[in-house]
């Protein structure tokens, strides 16, 4: 087949679409979606009743939570995005994908990544950065597969038979480009071993890069590709023209430009310089209109066809998806206000917020896509419309229970944490603020179970549909003329954007510029200017044993429940101790500020309790804190600490700029063993010091006891060089 532009009069090419790749991604979506939801239900159960952690390391909350988030985002939503992109792009560009081989490499590579994640995360192999937990070999694989996808996609654009590219394609391009940039920058790390690396950035810099990534994973993995899918599937399904071409142009560029700035709203009241925090707030607020632009363009496309929503389950899913998108994108700016964030940050409200986005906006859009594409691709009819309608209602009730219980528990937590009376905390005991919301955790569990039940109905429905498909599936052929070279002066009346739609290369470059502006202005100062990094710190680097303990802290996913950021708020200082400072985390590769407080903040836990308290608490948290929902960590008392990599770890930290001397590195193992023995001896007369000092628990205790306020000789904010 000749795909090259021809100079002689238009001649129709005949071609077929590669739908087998779409089918593959669809089946992967269905399977991984089940896994993501199932793990989510397990986690919800564990929070409602801690015994469901089963004292097994690989199934504890801290290790499973990253598996849940990664599965939901990259496996469930990811495969669905790819299915939709491969399906719609070929049709919108009137061409088969450039290379079936590259498509297949993309598919199988992506599944390999997911399987690697599903194996490594429960084993505690993690980089310790939220939504970017996968270790460096997998990170490299992700980058490679993504680049292969990008190459295939841009070459497909080259061989297209449609002169102009449709708005869905703009969104896909923005996704492909930006996700690549985000992933590569945030994953920069120096390996210590095959399964261990340290982030290139530390402390406030790492936090800023991480949340630039984290927030824009929401933007460019869970929003832009789904808007692209919306722009294809809604007009396709409803058979109505898109409401406003102009609106799609404006909200596309506004969204791409503004989203990238909003990351710092995850770091309000942290030690991030306040100007960057404020940028995060105001750009979040300015995101409202661009986000709603997508929603209204979708909803108004349904104009004149609303009666069909009553009858057709697919349209129900689409309308609910857009509505929940509108709700979540209103809630987002609201949560970004400093004053609201003071209450809501670290609470379950945020969890409710992301779930209205992922379960509602993404989930329902995916269900609509599946119910539409499966019968179409397998050339049959949906097995049961009725079951699909039931799925819709069950899932909707599930989402409502989920969101409302998290609102209630989040606001309860926030109020109890901040509550002061006569200058004293009303609820000084953190456990009290946990036990209070347990009933709501059960409501959330019911919501999750309903959503999962609806999902099972869908699987059954789709399996039956595929089973009823005719045996010999033939691919239809399509015809269209190859693109002709156009004279440049033949269309002077067209808008400049119309011209841009013919030039995907230039559009791509403009997208890169749009996302680069916010990124550069917010991140570069923190990376290059000494002003934000306390150079005149008297903070000592972690001892070798503390560093080993910190790696256990990361391995167990402690950051999924505990923050390390005492905000400059009176109640927090009374509860936890002196507010966090820049140099507290200056040697933290990666930073561990966390984003939730299922348990209390740990930035000032050092010295608060004796070693024996931690020892008994890790073995059985309820023996020291009755009512606690923390899992038991008996294996920390049994496993011997692996000293093997310790010297290498200090060397890598040296490379990263942590002031260890060569001596420190050479003596790392000896020093660690000596410190461990010292801790073991002072633990309790009834415990064999020699034996216990070899265990992992001792390193973890050493690390926790090191989390203390740094004593400053001079204010750090003025430190300039």
């Amino acid at each position: 087949m000749n795909n090259h532009p021809q100079t002689h009069p238009p001649k129709n090419d005949t071609f077929q679409y590669d739908d087998s790749i779409v089918k593959k991604f669809i089946i992967a979506t269905i399977g991984w979606g089940f896994v993501a939801l199932l793990v989510g239900v397990v986690l919800a159960t564990q929070l409602a009743n801690w015994t469901f952690n089963f004292d097994l390391s690989w199934i504890t909350f801290g290790r499973l939570r990253p598996l849940h988030t990664n599965a939901a985002i990259f496996a469930f939503a990811g495969n669905a995005i790819f299915a939709g992109i491969y399906h719609s792009s070929q049709r919108l560009l009137k061409t088969r994908m450039f290379s079936d081989v590259l498509s297949k490499i993309h598919f199988w590579g992506w599944q390999l990544i997911i399987v690697s994640a599903a194996i490594t995360l429960p084993l505690g192999i993690t980089a310790g950065k939220e939504y970017a937990e996968l270790e460096w070999p997998i990170d490299i694989l992700i980058a490679l597969i993504w680049v292969i996808f990008a190459i295939n996609y841009f070459l497909t654009l080259k061989v297209r038979r449609e002169r102009h590219i449709y708005v869905a394609i703009w969104f896909y391009i923005a996704t492909i480009i930006t996700v690549a940039i985000l992933h590569i920058v945030n994953s920069l790390a120096i390996p210590v071993g095959l399964f261990k690396s340290y982030s290139l950035f530390s402390g406030v810099q790492d936090a800023l890069v991480q949340w630039w990534y984290g927030h824009n994973a929401v933007a460019f993995f869970l929003t832009t590709p789904f808007l692209g899918l919306m722009y294809y599937y809604i007009p396709k399904i409803i058979k109505r023209p898109v409401y406003s071409y102009r609106l799609s142009i404006i909200h596309f560029w506004a969204l791409v430009f503004i989203y990238i700035w909003a990351g710092p709203h995850h770091l309000l009241y942290s030690v991030l310089p306040e100007w960057a925090q404020t940028m995060g707030v105001v750009f979040s607020v300015m995101l409202l209109a661009p986000s709603w632009g997508g929603m209204i363009n979708g909803l108004l496309t349904l104009r004149g066809s609303w009666d069909r929503v009553r009858k057709e389950p697919i349209l129900k899913f689409l309308v609910a998806s857009l509505t929940l998108y509108g709700m979540a994108t209103f809630e987002g700016p609201l949560l970004a206000f400093k004053s609201v964030n003071a209450l809501a940050h670290f609470t379950d409200w945020i969890i409710g917020h992301v779930h209205s986005g992922v379960l509602g906006w993404n989930g329902f859009m995916i269900f609509a896509l599946l119910y539409y594409c499966v019968p179409k691709l397998w050339k049959t009819k949906l097995y049961s419309d009725k079951l699909a309608t039931t799925h819709f209602w069950v899932a909707t009730v599930g989402i409502i229970l989920y969101i409302m219980s998290m609102w209630a528990s989040g606001i309860t937590q926030g109020l109890m944490w901040l509550g002061l009376e006569d200058g004293r905390l009303i609820y000084p005991d953190f456990v009290e603020t946990v036990t209070k919301i347990i009933p709501l955790y059960y409501v959330r569990l019911v919501g999750g179970l309903l959503y999962l039940s609806g999902y099972l109905l869908m699987i059954y429905n789709l399996v039956k549909t595929i089973a009823s498909a005719p045996k010999n599936q033939t691919s239809p052929s399509y015809s269209a003329p190859a693109l002709q070279k156009v004279e440049h002066d033949n269309n002077t009346s067209e808008s400049s954007h119309r011209w841009l739609e013919r030039e995907p290369d230039i559009l791509t470059i403009l997208v890169i510029v749009a996302v680069a502006v916010g990124s550069i202005i917010e991140i570069i100062p923190s990376l290059t200017s000494h002003k934000y990094v306390a150079l005149e710190t008297n903070k000592k680097p972690y001892s070798a044993l503390e560093l080993a303990g910190r790696d256990i802290y990361i391995r167990e996913g402690c950051y999924t429940c505990h923050s390390q950021m005492v905000r400059p708020i009176k109640a927090e200082v009374l509860r936890y101790g002196a507010k966090s400072e820049l140099d507290d985390s200056i040697y933290d590769h990666p930073f561990q500020w966390g984003s939730r407080r299922i348990g209390p903040d740990l930035a000032r836990v050092g010295g608060k309790y004796p070693d024996i308290w931690h020892y008994r608490h890790m073995d059985d948290p309820r023996s020291m804190a009755p009512g606690s929902i923390m899992p038991n960590y008996p294996w920390l008392l049994e496993n011997n600490l692996d000293y093997g990599l310790l010297e290498k770890k200090l060397r890598v930290m040296q490379t990263l700029g942590v002031p260890y001397s060569d001596e420190n590195a050479e003596n790392a193992i000896e020093d660690a063993k000596a410190q461990a023995l010292e801790i073991g001896k002072n633990l309790d007369p009834s415990i064999d010091a020699k034996k216990i000092s070899k265990k992992e628990i001792i390193a973890l205790i050493a690390y926790l006891q090191s989390l203390k306020e740094q004593l400053h000789h001079e204010p750090l904010h003025g430190a300039t060089h």
Partner: protein
């Protein structure tokens, strides 16, 4: 290549072009993507106004925090802490003066607090596990008087593993615990830990 007879087509749904409403006839653009058409509707006015409004708000918000004195997070925090210590200068001396007091204290409350807070180290029956036996007349810290037990609970014995409970318990609760501990003196529970410290009759 498949048999061409299944009529090669432009769009998958060539049968079903877009439904155009009567009032939309003039604003249909000549765009056609796999059968998808686009209308040339103007931007909704309220939407445009909302966009402008958020931009204006952004300027005001930034100005409020960064170009007026005392609104930065750090300034507000410092101010809240100053007020706090001033208020406290009175109440602090009150707290210092607070010691054991039977007012608002009860043995029942003490018993339940004991079970949830103390039993882990001192045993369900106060027979002593990690911590010492609390039912005998021997005391490692203080002399076993109400005030000395109160003080031990309040500030803890950190080097021995007992935390300072004043952060978690109200003065009246500590007093309740004192009442309870005094009430179980001489109960001589089974498996009692041998006496430690000094005898105070």
């Amino acid at each position: 290549m498949n048999e061409k007879k299944d009529s090669t087509q432009n769009h998958e749904d060539s049968s079903s072009s877009s439904l155009i409403l009567e009032d939309e006839k003039d604003i249909v653009l000549d765009h056609d993507y796999d059968g998808i058409k686009e209308l040339d509707n103007p931007l909704p006015k309220w939407w445009v106004n909302m966009f402008y409004l958020t931009a204006v708000f952004a300027v005001i918000y930034t100005g409020y925090y960064h170009f007026r004195n005392g609104n930065l997070i750090e300034d507000r925090f410092q101010k809240s802490m100053i007020v706090e210590t001033k208020e406290n200068s009175d109440s602090l001396s009150d707290i210092a003066a607070v010691g054991f007091s039977e007012e608002n204290a009860s043995i029942d409350e003490g018993a339940s607090l004991y079970t949830s807070r103390c039993a882990a180290c001192h045993g369900q029956k106060a027979e002593g596990i990690i911590g010492p036996n609390l039912t005998d007349n021997y005391w490692l810290n203080g002399d076993g008087s109400n005030d000395s037990i109160y003080n031990t609970i309040k500030v803890g014995i950190p080097e021995k593993g007992m935390i300072a409970w004043e952060a978690l318990l109200k003065p009246s609760q500590i007093s309740s615990l004192v009442l309870y501990i005094q009430s179980i003196k001489g109960t001589a529970p089974a498996n009692g830990k041998p006496a430690q410290g000094t005898l105070f009759e």
